[in-house]
């Protein structure tokens, strides 16, 4: 054969001498190449990098937010500690009055459902200490308000609040506030006494805070919520790292072709991932900075308190890039990057179940303390750590089990049974379900965690309802400790008050058995607040049996008060004629159960009526706005230390409502994050397969068929993921409810809503990806260049 004539053009540039680099320099060069590759690539490359950085950044923002929470709590608690007054002590133990002492009494109030907590103060001398943030102690009829309370009072429609504690003479500075939105005050009073509920002190702060330990159930809920909300974030960060994985594999194959060995390739990939992670950290820092500006407008927190704990920040800064590199390296374990391209090792190898069960099984073992139905309050210190850890492992198990479940399920799905869309999607999933599953695993873990949380909240709500349930009656407000004082009769003239009535409750003992007996004395309508009196007339007596035992028999004479008390001299004899009413639960319960109770109308006392331990019930006119707050203001003006309670107390309900709101917000943020992740994954997959899509269109496959196939490719893993999440979340919820000693019940509404919203996210993601799908399906997509 004769060679074709080739023009000679010279030998070309000479090759520079080959200078092998030292190992460290080679490492640095490979990493630097990775960095270079990650920031190059034109518009598509920048979009990919921006998506990864935004994805990691969102996760980092949430992690930094979590790292800030302890600092916020600590800063707020420090200010609360600095202003705290000592707890009440018996008068004989109280310190002596002096020029440097002040009497204090904590009072609580509400306005339109918002809690207000303040302190009544009475300076006993010129050198009385000042609480932080207060320039002058208010005198009687004066009040120093927090800025938020002052603003609330000044707002339109706050007539029912104005003047509640006296004339405002100033505001409390930030150093004396838990947060900028705190509703608090210091009001002057001239009738505080250590014989009553006041404490005497010569300083604020440095004493044991008055706040009790938080409810263990709520504390446990907080730990559970932290685990549930942060775990999907971690999963999201790891899947964000793998955006654009296929393009990266191709890039690495090209490097292999020009002589990069497998180790160099891994280092280049690590360099790429590190750049993305560092950029993600920077973006997360920016997002967090923006969040710091926005957050004080939404929640009551000073901007200065929003400083993440340095140790936790360091952990995020180190762990995110390390986790990103580990994820990339682990993803590369499953592929062989060869000069001719990428060979996936998992193609013909089935996913194994056994190792995927290890973590959830360990999780279940760690959750063992919950199996016996023991309460969270009885957990040892170790169990307080191991139980949330077990929960985290169980939730992580969802992410591990889902790929196996999807693979095992789609293996048995016949691709030929349905239409072309079904066939395309099933075959695609059979070939490689990993990409779709990765996108869905975040949703599955979130849903499982949120179902568990919703279950706990529902259980707590139901438990709270059990404890606080009272009959809805014509009375809406109750003021304790009015003790027959005629001043309280003024309440009848307050705007929005229809009627008031006095009631008395005394504790006594059954002389025959020594058991505690409670006696309520009030008119029929007032008795109906606590029990079902039915047909009732003055002179009637009603009895509710105790949990164990019986009510004192007819003819038994009981003291109308504890021995030695003011009422002990008055006695009452149980009459023959009395009506039995159901046992009243929750109100006076002791460890032995509910005590025996008598409900007596005044006519049955034959003129004997206790005047202490009495309270006033108030009936409100529902047509008058803020009627309850008008009563609160009037009551505070009579005696600032009294507290007006709604008859139907809400118990934990307001806190739980707040938690539910926070859950909804958390769920929304998480699903937004996951929706973004899903969209990026779908877009990525489409770009990878643009030629195939164009080819399918070229031989006549309809757009809607391909659109349906995209939807099904997501829907099949999502349905399986939601099923797995429902089982895990509900099981976990049942365990946690039992561990928190709340009634075990399934929150079907929560399951439906959370699953429905997750399904909606999938639909929206698919819809958002369709324009790109149609664009990629144009015949131009067939072009190789």
């Amino acid at each position: 054969m004769t060679a074709t004539a080739i023009p000679r053009t010279g030998a070309g540039p000479t090759r520079p001498p080959h200078r092998p680099r030292p190992a460290l320099a080679q490492w640095a060069a490979d990493l630097a190449l990775g960095v270079r590759l990650s920031v190059s690539g034109g518009r598509a490359g920048w979009v990919r990098l921006a998506l990864i950085a935004a994805g990691i950044g969102l996760g980092v923002t949430m992690l930094l937010g979590a790292a800030t929470a302890p600092a916020v709590v600590a800063a707020q608690q420090a200010r609360v500690d600095d202003r705290s007054a000592p707890l009440w002590v018996p008068p004989e133990d109280a310190m002596a009055a002096g020029p440097d002492t002040v009497l204090t009494e904590v009072v609580r109030s509400q306005f339109r459902g918002s809690d207000i907590e303040g302190v009544l103060v009475h300076a006993e001398g010129d050198e009385a200490p000042l609480p932080p943030g207060v320039e002058r102690l208010p005198g009687p009829g004066e009040v120093v308000l927090s800025p938020a309370l002052a603003e609330l009072m000044a707002s339109n429609g706050a007539d029912a609040l104005r003047g509640r504690w006296g004339e405002a003479i100033g505001t409390i500075g930030p150093e004396g506030l838990r947060g900028p939105g705190e509703l608090t005050f210091y009001a002057g009073s001239d009738h505080l006494s250590v014989e009553e509920l006041a404490s005497r002190t010569d300083r604020f702060g440095g004493v044991e805070p008055a706040d009790a330990d938080p409810d263990p159930a709520l504390l446990f809920l907080a730990v559970v919520a932290t685990v549930v909300l942060l775990l999907p974030v971690a999963i999201f960060v790891t899947s964000a790292v793998r955006f654009g994985g296929e393009a990266r594999d191709r890039r690495l194959a090209a490097l292999r072709l020009v002589g990069a060995d497998a180790r160099m390739t891994r280092r280049v990939a690590a360099g790429e991932t590190l750049t993305e992670a560092v950029l993600g950290l920077a973006v997360g820092g920016l997002f967090f900075g923006a969040l710091r500006l926005v957050l004080p407008r939404v929640v009551s927190v000073f901007p200065g308190d929003l400083r993440p704990v340095p140790g936790l920040v360091a952990l995020v800064v180190v762990l995110v890039p390390v986790a990103a590199v580990v994820v990339t390296m682990s993803a590369m374990q499953r592929v062989v990057v060869e000069p001719l391209g990428v060979v996936r090792r998992s193609g013909d190898r089935r996913r194994r179940l056994w190792w995927r069960l290890v973590l959830p099984v360990i999780g279940l073992v760690l959750l063992a303390p919950l199996f016996g139905g023991r309460g969270a309050s009885s957990f040892s210190e170790l169990e307080q750590v191991t139980v949330p850890a077990g929960m985290g492992l169980l939730l992580l198990g969802v992410a591990l089990l889902l790929p196996w479940l999807v693979e095992a399920s789609v293996r048995h799905l016949g691709g030929g049974g349905g239409g072309v869309a079904w066939q395309l999607s099933v075959r695609r999933l059979q070939l490689d379900s990993g990409t779709s599953v990765r996108a869905v695993s975040g949703i599955a873990v979130s849903v499982a965690g949120l179902l568990a949380l919703n279950g706990i909240v529902a259980g707590l709500e139901s438990g709270a309802a059990d404890v606080t349930e009272r009959s809805a009656t014509e009375f809406q407000a109750e003021i304790y400790g009015t003790d027959g004082d005629p001043r309280w009769e003024q309440l009848a003239d307050v705007r929005g008050v229809r009627e008031i009535t006095m009631t008395s409750t005394v504790q006594t003992t059954d002389p025959a058995t020594g058991a505690t007996v409670w006696i309520d004395i009030a008119e029929c309508a007032a008795l109906a607040v606590d029990t079902e009196v039915g047909d009732c007339a003055d002179g009637d007596v009603f009895a509710a049996a105790p949990t164990n035992g019986t009510v004192p028999t007819a003819g038994t004479t009981v003291d109308l008060g504890e021995p030695g008390s003011a009422q002990a001299a008055s006695t009452w004899t149980v009459p023959d004629a009395l009506t039995t009413v159901p046992t009243v639960t929750g109100m006076m319960a002791s460890p032995e159960g509910e005590p025996a109770r008598f409900f007596i109308t005044p006519g049955a006392l034959e003129g004997v009526a206790p005047t202490t331990d009495s309270s006033t019930l108030v009936a409100l006119d529902p047509a008058v706005p803020d009627a309850m707050d008008h009563v609160r203001t009037a009551a505070a003006q009579i005696d600032a230390s009294t507290h007006v309670d709604p008859v139907l107390t809400e118990g934990l309900a307001p806190i739980l409502a707040d938690i539910r709101q926070a859950l909804v917000a958390g769920t929304a943020a998480l699903l937004l994050l996951i929706g973004a992740s899903l969209l990026v994954n779908v877009v990525e997959q489409m770009r990878e397969r643009r030629q195939l899509l164009a080819a399918l269109l070229a031989f006549g496959v309809r757009r809607r068929t391909l659109s349906a196939s995209v939807l099904l490719q997501l829907a099949v893993p999502v349905v399986l993921g939601l099923a797995l999440a429902a089982v895990t979340g509900t099981g976990l919820s049942t365990l946690l409810q039992s561990g928190m000693e709340v009634p075990v019940q399934l929150d079907w509404a929560g399951i439906g809503t959370t699953s429905g919203v997750a399904a909606l996210v999938v639909m929206l993601t698919t819809a958002a990806s369709l324009p790109l799908l149609w664009r990629l399906m144009r015949p131009e997509g067939l072009r190789a260049e």
């Binding site: 270079r36 690539g41 292999r256 020009v258």
Partner: protein, 227 residues
Amino acid sequence: MLDAPLLVADDLSLSYGETRALDSASVQVHAGEVLALMGPSGSGKSTLMHCLAGILAPDSGTVTYDGRDVTTMSDVERSALRRTEFGFVFQFGQLVPELTCLENVALPLRMTGTRRREAERVATGWLERLEVGDVAAKRPGEASGGQGQRVAVARALVTRPRVVFADEPTGALDSLNGERVMQLLVAAARDTGAAVVLVTHEARVAAYSDGEAVVRDGRVRQAELAR
């Protein structure tokens, strides 16, 4: 009497599952020779080239390069061989899409420790030599098919390899562009003294070779060199 062959495949066999891609295939390439591996689609010619280049390991048989057994080399050694002794041109350039054309050509040099400025100087020379100096700052996706292939040829030659493997280098180009790419590839290879292993099924492309080996059903029949 010809010199001892530079690259020798001896009795290579390789199967993909049940499919026998190479069946006792043997072939020799001499220094500076342009050898065309010809045959119909699926005959095994690309597989043979990949074995010669140390990209694929045969099930049996040996590949010897310059007296060294490639088949027993580690991945690191084979990667080093590709980095320093071999160059590659494929049907679709296999360029790194994120890098500019200049950076793509400079990449093999940079991987062997050459400083960036020096590597890019040499790469610029090769781009000009292959008449694509004007796309140096563009990314591969912004260049035409013919320009991309010439960039790939420049990248294959920049390390002055002793063997250039070209797998259907004109397969994606029109005839005019294909002709020009072949002219430039073979001319540059001759000028640098590199051997070229050219996989093609087009006689017009094979016409640029000094000799040809026909691959059919994994077996090779190599014609004598017409020197």
